[in-house]
């Protein structure tokens, strides 16, 4: 990473921290301890299942919300407030700005996820008093969740580089929801015929495939995640993210600042 991208990324991280983004961890901690205590009382042998399911789903939703709400403002807010003028009049290329913003928000989300992951494990220890070997699956599920964050951050940045924050938020949320059903969409597409099939398949493959990246209930049921899926998801997320970031840089490169 060149030094300018690094400095923009660390400044983005600093902004998120000073804007009290990490305060979401307090809400998360309350949620996890509440759940752990409650589940501990109604113990009927499914404590682990509930804690893992609930914990990982919360990690994912908290992160998605942060990724979208910060992501949509990363570029548009700087254009709106004209803070970009004194950055882009320096030897900073526009694509470097996009990359720096992306790494800054991704870093914020990774740090945030790290603390939430600790919360999940503490809650798990509280209800079941020990870890099992199958719990390593939780780490894989967390890794996939982080991959989802990278994709959604890139998408939020893309929308933010050409539309208003409100529209960007709507687009990003819509894509997240649709992406959760990506595999069903692919299934539907294969049932149609002719041009429709062509278009539907294209659309189904264009939306981010969040279904493959969601192994939460699988992990909660202690079934293992295949190495192939890990490799596939890693490659998929990287290619998808890089493609979206390139599109963002391309749009932003041509944009006249207000």
């Amino acid at each position: 990473m060149n030094s300018r991208i690094w400095h923009i990324a660390t400044n983005t991280f600093r902004e998120a921290v000073r804007d009290r983004v990490l305060y979401n961890l307090i809400a998360f901690a309350l949620l996890m301890s509440g759940a752990a205590v409650l589940v501990g009382q109604i113990s009927i042998g499914i404590e682990r299942l509930v804690v893992i399911n609930l914990g990982l789903t919360a990690v994912s939703l908290f992160g998605i919300v942060i990724a979208i709400f910060i992501g949509i403002g990363l570029v548009s807010k700087e254009i709106e407030k004209r803070t970009l003028y004194t950055v882009l009049s320096r030897p900073v290329r526009r694509w470097e700005f996009v990359a720096g913003k992306f790494f800054g928000l991704s870093g914020t989300l990774i740090v945030n996820t790290f603390f939430m992951a600790i919360g999940v494990f503490v809650a798990l220890l509280y209800v079941s008093h020990s870890f099992k070997h199958a719990d390593t699956g939780i780490l894989i599920a967390l890794y996939f969740i982080v991959l989802q964050f990278l994709i959604i951050t890139a998408l939020a940045l893309l929308f933010s580089s050409f539309s208003s924050p409100l529209l960007s938020a709507v687009f990003a949320f819509a894509l997240f929801v649709i992406g959760t059903f990506a595999e069903d969409l692919r299934g539907f597409a294969s049932l149609t015929h002719g041009v429709t099939r062509w278009l539907a398949t294209g659309a189904a493959y264009l939306v981010p495939n969040f279904s493959a990246l969601n192994v939460i209930s699988q992990v909660a049921h202690e079934s293992s995640v295949s190495r192939q899926l890990i490799a596939y998801n890693t490659a998929y997320a990287l290619v998808y993210t890089i493609a979206v970031l390139s599109a963002t840089a391309l749009v932003f490169e041509r944009r006249n600042l207000k």
Binding site: Y85, T86, R90, P91
Partner: protein, 312 residues
């Protein structure tokens, strides 16, 4: 080599949401600014000054023409490392302190990390923000933001400095400080290109000025050369309180003060006025030319522009 060379730069914005209409903000502009010059870019609000600066900074793309700074293209990072820019009514990351902001900008401009702290401290001292360096920018007044803006523009020791309305939002004291700061930059051999709609600032500082109005260049040159062509005024003083008809009709203002009367009339009416005084047997005391100011030139150019706009 020119410090700045503008070759027919022009800009047409398209405005309106549904039905786009073109709006010409700048007609093709040709200007060359010498190395080490203080150059004033003058024009009323809406003249196209900010648009020109934004194109030079690569923030907005020109509809036509091109420009070079230090002989390099506008998107060349090597050139951008050697220029500084103060935007109009600057706004900065308000969660940072002045010191953090300048460190960040220094890093982006590629200032050597060993030198960064001393550069930041020196520039904070220079703009008078030393005491406020650990205050978050959200608590800064408008004047302090302007100072921070100037600090970030000169922090990395640039060769060419672009300032968009550097004196606006400052009290008289702050304006004087900015003026002497600009003079210091010149002494250090830097080129300064600044826009303003306040003529007295330009008159006191600039080697040369350009006047633009409605997106069109109306004149370029040294202040003295520009104003020498302007028809000046003269002040006539005579004894007594009587005002000859010829002077009354020439439209100048007259003031009676004790035993004498004073009138300011245009140069071309001077001979007729003196003849009239002689005819009425009033004793002439003095005739003094009133030096044409940049403001006279400026107003004359604006009138010309307005007439052209009407006849077109």
């Amino acid at each position: 080599m020119h410090a700045i060379e503008i070759l027919g730069l022009e800009k047409t914005y398209s405005i309106g949401f549904w039905r786009k209409r073109p709006k010409r903000a700048l007609h093709p502009l040709h200007l060359a600014i010498e190395d080490g010059e203080i150059f004033g870019f003058l024009g009323p609000n809406g003249a196209g000054k900010t648009t020109t600066l934004k194109m030079l900074m690569g923030l907005v793309f020109p509809s036509g023409g091109s420009a070079r700074i230090l002989g390099m293209e506008l998107d060349d990072p090597r050139m951008k490392a050697q220029i500084g820019f103060l935007p109009e009514q600057p706004y900065f990351y308000d969660y940072l302190t002045a010191r953090e902001l300048l460190r960040y900008y220094g890093q982006l401009s590629g200032v050597d990390s060993r030198q960064l702290s001393s550069s930041v401290n020196a520039v904070l001292e220079k703009v008078g923000l030393r005491d406020a360096m650990n205050v978050q920018l959200r608590k800064f007044s408008k004047g302090m933001l302007q100072r921070a803006g100037i600090a970030q523009a000169i922090l990395h020791d640039p060769k060419v400095v672009f300032l968009d309305e550097p004196m606006s939002g400052l009290d008289p004291m702050g304006r004087r400080e900015v003026r002497s700061l600009i003079e210091e930059l010149k002494e250090e051999g830097k080129t300064v290109f600044f826009s303003t709609h306040i003529l007295s600032d330009a008159e006191a500082l600039c080697d040369r000025v350009a006047v633009i109005n409605l997106g069109q260049l109306r004149g370029v040159g040294a202040v003295a050369d520009l104003t020498s062509g302007v028809k000046g005024k003269v002040e006539i003083v005579w004894q007594g309180s009587a005002v000859p008809a010829a002077i009354k009709s020439s439209g100048g203002e007259t003031h009676v003060a004790g035993e004498t009367t004073r009138a300011v009339i245009s140069e071309q009416d001077q001979d007729a006025a003196i003849d009239a005084l002689r005819r009425d047997r009033l004793r002439l005391i003095s005739v003094t030319p009133v030096r044409a100011s940049l403001e006279d030139y400026f107003m004359a150019q604006l009138r010309l522009g307005a007439e052209e706009a009407v006849t077109r």
